[in-house]
């Protein structure tokens, strides 16, 4: 039985309280212009999501359209290198190439039940934009995707995909011209189109109930992992789960069903860019302070004066100055361990995975792999690394760096 009761307390690791707080973080810091839409979502998301007919449609699409369950693959050569047991949760094998589609399907089905005809989304790497455009094509809905001008340049293949799928890609030219600004533009669009539009947020960020809703849709990742681990190892529980964190949706999904299993170490890996203290980084928990961004209270990279700063990461999907409130809470309570990997470390880890396992990972996912080099494992440990996406979209960046030192 799925627990849909949310209490007045401070929330749990898994669930926020009724005001959307995980401990000190979350809430819905939105202007009144968004109130009715966000309130409607808050009132109805759980009821709709757990309707049997909704669950059937969602699960059927995940199986028949997305290709779930995604494999849990024992990476033998990588395991040998680290003298431990490493399993890769192959979200890269999803239709459209990343975990983002789990959430896009869920939210678009929900939007249909709310009677919405027009779908908007923001995107960084383009994976969430492609996933949303794909689902909208499948359902025959209008789709508009906001994307930073800088990201449009560095993720050209995904821009082409979105266009082929019939979506309109609108460049966000303000501010740092990346994910944060695309999110601002999407929120503005929603303010200006309050009646017919649903905003499909691509990560566990935004005002309550988005973080919880997106985490629930992505929780399919850890739901499958538990069953698959049991088959592989005889135990549902790994010793470590490792995932990269931009806003934190693949990590939230990979952690979800282990959050209350306190023996399982949860390791979140942020993008350190040129180095955490280089001034060119996106390591939010290391550099951020509590603040409000995009409708929730969380950790935010900002100046002393409270202006949100422009982050840097080689990976567009991690190039975000905030982090979902669930993760801010995991960080603050120590339930999660937060590491970071630099651009170079991520590139190296990506080339290493190619050569050891024949898998080209997304640059985002390569950050999770890079963390393997920063930790010591026992021979008997069981690690699950969430391979959140595949690297096709990053080939241009990889080619530029093909001379990167051999692992």
């Amino acid at each position: 039985m799925i627990n849909t009761t949310i209490s007045l307390n401070r929330g749990t690791y898994k669930q926020p309280n009724i005001f959307g707080y995980y401990g000190n973080y979350g809430g819905a810091y939105i202007p009144e212009m968004l109130h009715r839409n966000v309130e409607e979502l808050k009132e109805r998301y759980l009821e709709i999501m757990y309707e049997p007919a909704f669950q059937k449609e969602f699960r059927d699409l995940l199986r028949d359209y997305v290709g779930r369950p995604t494999p849990l693959f024992y990476a033998k050569r990588l395991s040998e290198k680290h003298n431990t047991n490493i399993y890769l949760k192959r979200e890269d094998l999803n239709h459209t190439g990343a975990h983002k589609i789990n959430n896009a399907i869920g939210q678009v089905l929900l939007a249909q039940r709310l009677g919405k005809k027009r779908i908007i989304a923001e995107t960084g790497a383009g994976q969430h934009g492609v996933a949303t455009a794909t689902v909208c094509a499948l359902m025959g809905l209008e789709c508009i995707v906001y994307m930073g001008v800088k990201d449009i340049e560095r993720q050209a293949p995904n821009v082409a995909r979105m266009k082929m799928l019939g979506a309109t890609v609108r460049p966000a030219a303000s501010g740092s011209q990346t994910l944060k600004d695309a999110t601002n533009e999407a929120i503005r669009d929603w303010i200006n189109n309050p009646n017919d539009t649903h905003y499909v947020i691509g990560s566990v960020v935004g005002p309550h109930p988005y973080p919880d809703m997106v985490a629930r849709f992505q929780s399919i990742i850890s739901e499958e992992t538990r069953k698959q681990l049991l088959e592989h190892t005889g135990s549902e529980l790994p010793t470590h789960v490792i995932a990269c964190v931009g806003g934190g949706s693949n990590a939230a999904g990979a952690f979800y069903h282990f959050l209350d299993e306190l023996t399982v170490k949860l390791i979140a890996v942020e993008a350190a860019g040129h180095g955490v203290h280089s001034g060119m980084s996106a390591a939010t928990t290391q550099l951020g302070r509590p603040g409000v961004l995009h409708g929730s209270k969380s950790l935010v990279m900002q100046t002393e004066d409270g202006q949100v700063v422009e982050p840097h990461s080689i990976s567009a999907g991690l190039d975000y100055p905030g982090i979902g409130p669930m993760h801010a809470h995991l960080f603050e309570t120590g339930r999660g361990t937060f590491l970071s990997a630099t651009d170079d470390e991520a590139l190296q880890a990506a080339f290493e995975l190619c050569r050891l396992e024949g898998i080209i990972p997304a640059l985002e996912s390569a950050h999770a792999l890079a963390a393997l080099n920063q930790l010591r494992f026992k021979r008997t440990d069981t690690l699950v690394v969430c391979l959140s996406g595949r690297g096709d979209k990053d080939l241009a960046t990889y080619m530029k760096n093909i001379e990167a030192p051999n692992p």
Partner: protein, 263 residues
């Protein structure tokens, strides 16, 4: 009694609230702009504190904020400038408008204390939610004697309008359509909405914001409300102004037909 209530006690119609961005067009032009607004017939000044991610504002106001930030405007710098506010001849009510994040960084209570100390009358923080206002921040705002103005939209239910009216003081800010600032509006729909607000017997005066840009839209708004708020159109007028006072005079003459009251 605060300057805002005092104003509405004297007059309940055609109240003109004009928005300007602190540190725009120049870092040191904040008080010059405010003085020009007072001298040329504004009744309330809404002083915007620039922010990198102003969700409830349109591109023109965001751009003015970007310029102001580039000029070096910060909250600390602004309070520095505003120390002279009530020593200069500015007597109009002044409301600070901004977003939660910079205010939280400054320290919410310190912000209210410093605002009150320099003679600010009220606050508009569009992303401060009702729940957090009621449980945490409202009491701090009251402690320093500041008014707090909530926004309502055509999508806000009657019941919620009443709640937000009860929590507000000074006035209630009726957004003329669910939109970010600077969008053109169909005024028929706006009139219906304002008539509805009138029928709710609210405790606060109602000022209409968003989309007011000339005499016609100002007068239409004033027919069913106590006054209106102009932002984007004035920022546009300031953008290329050589002489701030001249530009402000010309702009406000285009809005208000009745004789100027002066300060």
């Amino acid at each position: 009694m605060g300057r805002i209530s005092e104003l509405f006690k004297q007059r309940q119609n055609n109240i003109l609230n004009v928005y300007c961005t602190a540190g725009f067009p120049h870092l040191e032009s904040t008080l010059t702009v405010m003085k020009a607004l007072q001298d040329n017939g504004a009744d309330i000044i809404e002083l915007g504190m620039p922010y990198s991610d102003p969700l409830a504002d349109g591109p023109v106001i965001q751009e003015s904020g970007t310029v102001a930030l580039h000029n070096g405007m910060t909250i600390a710098k602004l309070f520095e400038q505003l120390k002279a506010l009530r020593n200069s001849s500015i007597t109009l009510p002044v409301i600070l408008m901004g977003y939660m994040n910079p205010v939280l960084q400054y320290g919410f209570e310190k912000f209210c204390a410093d605002a009150a100390a320099v003679g600010i009358d009220g606050l508009i923080l569009p992303d401060l939610p009702q729940y957090e206002f009621e449980t945490e921040y409202g009491a701090v705002i009251k402690k320093y004697g500041l008014d707090f103005v909530f926004l309502v939209t055509p999508e806000t239910s009657d019941e919620r309008v009443k709640q937000l009216d009860a929590l507000s003081s000074g006035f209630l800010y009726a957004v003329s359509s669910s939109s970010t600032t600077g969008k053109d509006k169909d005024f028929n729909a706006v009139e219906k909405y304002l008539q509805k607000l009138q029928s709710l017997q609210l405790k606060n005066p109602v000022l209409v914001g968003f989309g007011i840009k000339d005499k016609q839209t100002f007068e239409a708004a004033c027919k069913y409300a106590d006054g209106a708020i102009i932002g984007t159109a004035y920022i546009k007028a300031l953008e290329h102004a050589e002489d701030i006072n001249e530009a402000t005079k010309k702009f406000l003459e285009g809005i208000k037909s009745h004789p100027l009251k002066g300060g």
